[in-house]
């Protein structure tokens, strides 16, 4: 055991002797976790700024009312050019008006997420119960068009509400002959419209949207963003760090220190154990760094810290085992570098480290579970967002440990001292 610990100590010393490793262990993961967490959290919930161009060809009180309703329906929508401010958040580059061509260009360049065109005669159309079409232009993007469309839908319902009231009211009185002449009937319709508008303004019914669980100190946006990015980026950077072990092993083989160790009175188990433990410690350290970022940002990590640690432990172990299993194929440092980049960058998004798997098609969710990352993310999500406890995440932990067992068995059987 003493010798194993010495090997671990030596490997850690070698790792930290290259100061560049600190960049990849600390700086980049911390920055990435924060950036991804903050921005994806915003994009996913409803508060980021989402620019929407509005071309109001009607310019009527009703169209203004529609826009107001739109803002209410989704507070993250910034309607351009109306909501432009001195900071120029509409990114208009000086233009005061937006024409159809410009709106299209802005969409294509992804300045805006959507463009809404209110047709001329909108108000008259609505009031006279004529069919009116509001056009919504979008680019395909993840989740955004749905958000814009739902908001527009809700706003239109509001605007339509008063018109619908006036319309049904007018129909009622005329069908039942309650009011004698056309003039009084249309006056009645107008009064109903105004009264309905007034009732709408009082907001008789509201929808209260709240996230389940304990309110996190960092706010719900940060919670959902970092709740995904902390384990996600953690899982990815653990791969970078641990797969780096393949490079280190190839390097030791090239400089013959591995062979020298093999001729020392060490058992194979001691030598491999030391090497594996060293990488595992680095991977665990990597997770700790990223989780520390999450804790510092004030996100809730769930109710069962022990389970969280166990998942991180099982995941890191599985990645360590995988890297040693793959290491048996690796012939030199360049190959190790190429493989670790390929693997980390493929397994991470596949397993939902970059975005939650909820947003990908079912088939991709299933395929994604060939990546250990997916199992870890399932468990982390359950623990962080869904108040799960250890018994709830036994399956993912078991799968990760299974991967570990198979990969280690392979690695130990196939390991060669010489390349």
């Amino acid at each position: 055991m003493r010798k194993i610990l010495q090997i671990v100590r030596n490997d850690l010393r070698l790792f930290f002797l290259s100061r560049e490793n600190l960049i990849s262990l600390l700086f980049v993961p911390v920055v990435m976790t924060l950036v991804v967490g903050i921005f994806s959290g915003n994009a996913a919930s409803e508060s980021p700024e989402m620019l929407v161009d509005v071309i109001d060809r009607d310019g009527s009180p009703l169209s203004a009312q529609l826009l107001e309703a739109l803002r209410e329906a989704n507070s993250s929508l910034i309607l351009c050019p109306l909501d432009n401010d001195t900071a120029g958040r509409c990114e208009l580059d000086g233009a005061g008006e937006i024409g159809p061509e410009q709106a299209r260009g802005r969409l294509e360049e992804r300045v805006t997420e959507a463009a809404i065109v209110i047709p001329p005669g909108f108000e008259t159309g609505v009031r006279s119960f004529e069919p009116v079409q509001v056009t919504l232009y979008t680019l395909e993007d993840i989740g955004v068009p749905e958000a814009a469309e739902q908001a527009l839908n809700a706003a239109l319902q509001r605007v339509n509400g008063a018109a619908a009231a006036a319309r049904t009211g007018a129909a009622l009185v005329s069908q039942n002959g309650l009011l004698p002449d056309e003039d009084s009937r249309s006056a009645f319709a107008k009064q109903v419209y105004d009264r309905a508008s007034q009732i709408w303004a009082e907001e008789p019914v509201t929808v209260n949207f709240e996230y389940a669980g304990d309110p996190p100190s960092g706010g719900p946006d940060l919670q959902s963003g970092l709740g995904q990015s902390v384990p996600g980026m953690g899982a990815m950077f653990v791969m970078f760090t641990v797969f780096g072990g393949m490079t280190a092993l190839a390097e030791e083989r090239a400089q013959w220190t591995l062979q020298r160790l093999a001729t020392a009175p060490l058992s194979r188990a001691q030598l491999l154990g030391g090497k594996i433990l060293a990488r595992f410690v680095l991977g665990a350290l990597q997770f700790m760094v990223v989780f520390a970022v999450g804790i510092a940002a004030g996100i809730q990590l769930g109710r069962d810290p022990l389970a969280l640690v166990l998942v991180a432990f099982a995941y890191t172990l599985s990645i360590t085992a995988l890297s040693f299993a793959l290491g048996t194929w690796i012939k030199n440092e360049a190959q190790a570098g190429g493989f670790s980049l390929l693997l980390s960058l493929v397994l991470a998004p596949l397993g939902g480290a970059w975005w939650p798997l909820e947003i990908v098609p079912r088939a991709m969710q299933i395929v994604g579970h060939i990546s250990p990352v997916a199992w870890a993310m399932d468990a982390f999500n359950a623990l962080i967002f869904n108040q799960a406890r250890l018994p709830d995440v036994v399956l993912p932990i078991a799968v990760l440990l299974g991967i570990t067992a198979v990969a280690f068995a392979w690695a130990i059987a196939r390991f060669r001292y010489e390349g």
Binding site: F39, Q150, L156, T168, I199, E210, A212, N332, F339, E358
Partner: protein, 477 residues
């Protein structure tokens, strides 16, 4: 000049015969783009990747004094065939002449495609508790608090993406009563799973939509009856009311299909609607291509540090070849490597896109000349960045870690990782400029000159600074 091409050719040869480099240059970006294309583009299209969101609807509504239960109606919209809805009597069909039925069917279809809703009551709550999926709520079994708490737990536990809770006074508050002509206030609550913010957000919008529709009908009733009462007076009103079939009179106000306003949703380009998967490939593929082109350029330029270590650089320098030719040859070699890599990736992604779409399509647009210009500009920027780094770092070991870290950062900023940052931040990364250039071409927009200019300028400036620093560092090799 011949020597320059010899050196450039050697660089190219070394690069493209190295299987490990090909892994990074071609295989990784291709694999990543395909994964992202499949994740976001769907196989062969399909409207939204988010479908069948599991949602609970808890209906506490006790109904109005007239026996109408809007909570049941709410439920029946989300959960077709619910018993409660039938018992409460569905609203009669709207039969207004002016009503255009646009969109009704598609709305219904998309609602059912989007959600997998389930009515949730005391029975279901107890079942969940029994099977141990959720902890037993503190409240009395069967009470509203019990069901609420169970629904909340089920969402917290991630069993459902959201729970919609319709309050007991929902119908009462919304219903117009001649005694109190003003409507009261009521609130529908949506509990959302923070682990599935996107699905939950969609459920929030749907709940708002249905609530608004029900409110629309009731407000129509309230406004009309209120106005009738005001203009006809109480007794006349009461007499009139006795003869009116209110239910069918206001049916249209409850029917979303009767709205005369509809949304016409259009993609910016026709092509987009047809080739969704291909378009996603363009977006992610161009970002990945830029990301990995940075690696290629850096391997190339930084290789000079290794060559110095292995003395092949010195060997070249002591040959009767001017320094400028050696540097020139290497840089030309690196530049052509990057160009070739981009060309190969663009072609390969065209194939992947065509496979996903099931027919051959030019996913990068149909302007080969402009595409070539975009490739050249992007290659210049990327290899300029490599040159700058080569000038900045001291040793190849330092370089490899440092550059990977920088590349990942720039790629994340520029949108290679599947999320979009605010444009002002994105623009710091050349990945953004390269990516958007290719995107514009893909949707048929040929006005790429600002992007090209930015790329070329970036490249030129970085080349200049890099060369200066590099020469200084290598003066005494």
């Amino acid at each position: 000049m011949k020597k320059l091409w010899t050196i450039a050719w050697k660089e190219l040869y070394v690069r493209f015969t190295d299987r490990n480099l090909m892994l990074i240059m071609i295989a990784t970006p291709l694999a990543l783009s395909t994964i992202m294309g499949l994740a976001f583009g769907g196989l062969g299209g399909g409207s939204s990747p988010v479908t069948r969101i599991p949602v609970l609807v808890v209906n506490h509504d006790a109904g109005s004094e007239f026996g109408v239960n809007y909570g049941d109606i709410f439920l029946s919209i989300l959960v077709p065939g619910t018993d409660g809805a039938a018992a409460a009597g569905e609203l009669p069909a709207c039969s207004l002449d002016g009503g255009t039925k646009t969109g009704t069917e598609s709305d219904q279809f998309s609602l059912q495609e989007l959600t997998a809703a389930q009515a949730f009551g005391a029975e279901q709550a107890e079942a969940l508790v029994r099977e141990g999926s959720i902890p037993a709520p503190a409240a009395d079994p069967g009470s509203a608090a019990y069901v609420d708490s169970a629904a909340r737990s089920a969402v917290e536990r991630g069993l459902y993406a959201a729970a919609i809770i319709i309050p007991e006074d929902f119908s009462r508050q919304l219903s117009f009563s001649p005694a109190s002509p003003d409507t009261g206030r009521t609130q529908v609550t949506v509990y959302a799973d923070p682990g599935r913010p996107i699905s939950a957000g969609i459920i929030g919008s749907i709940a708002r939509g249905i609530t608004n529709q029900i409110a629309t009908g009731n407000i129509a009733i309230a406004a009309t009856l209120g106005e009738l009462q005001a203009s006809l007076g109480g007794p006349a009103m009461g007499q009139a009311a006795a003869n009116i079939d209110f239910a069918s009179a206001f049916a249209c106000a409850f029917d979303p299909g009767s709205s005369t306003i509809s949304i016409d949703r259009q993609m910016v380009r026709r092509a987009q609607q047809e080739n969704r998967a291909a378009l996603v490939l363009v977006v992610v593929g161009s970002a990945q291509a830029m990301f990995f082109a940075m690696f290629t350029a850096q391997f190339g330029v930084l290789n000079m540090h290794w060559e110095r270590r292995g003395w092949t650089l010195q060997r070249m320098l002591i040959s009767p070849t001017p320094r400028s030719i050696i540097m020139g040859g290497k840089l030309v070699g690196v530049f052509i490597s990057v160009v070739s890599q981009l060309v190969v990736l663009l072609l390969a992604l065209t194939l992947v896109g065509s496979l996903l779409q099931g027919r051959f399509i030019l996913i990068w647009g149909d302007q080969p000349l402009l595409i070539l210009i975009a490739i050249l500009a992007a290659s210049l920027a990327v290899s300029g960045f490599g040159m700058l780094l080569a000038g900045l770092v001291k040793s190849p070991e330092q370089a490899s870690v440092f550059t990977s870290a920088l590349n990942i950062g720039l790629a994340a900023l520029g949108g290679s990782f599947g999320f979009t940052l605010p444009k002002a931040i994105s623009q710091l990364s050349m990945v953004y400029w390269g990516r958007t250039t290719f995107e514009m071409l893909a949707v048929g927009n040929s006005d790429i000159w600002v992007n090209v200019l930015v790329l070329v300028l970036q490249g030129a400036v970085m080349y200049a600074i890099g060369l200066l620093l590099f020469n200084r560092r290598f003066e005494n090799v």
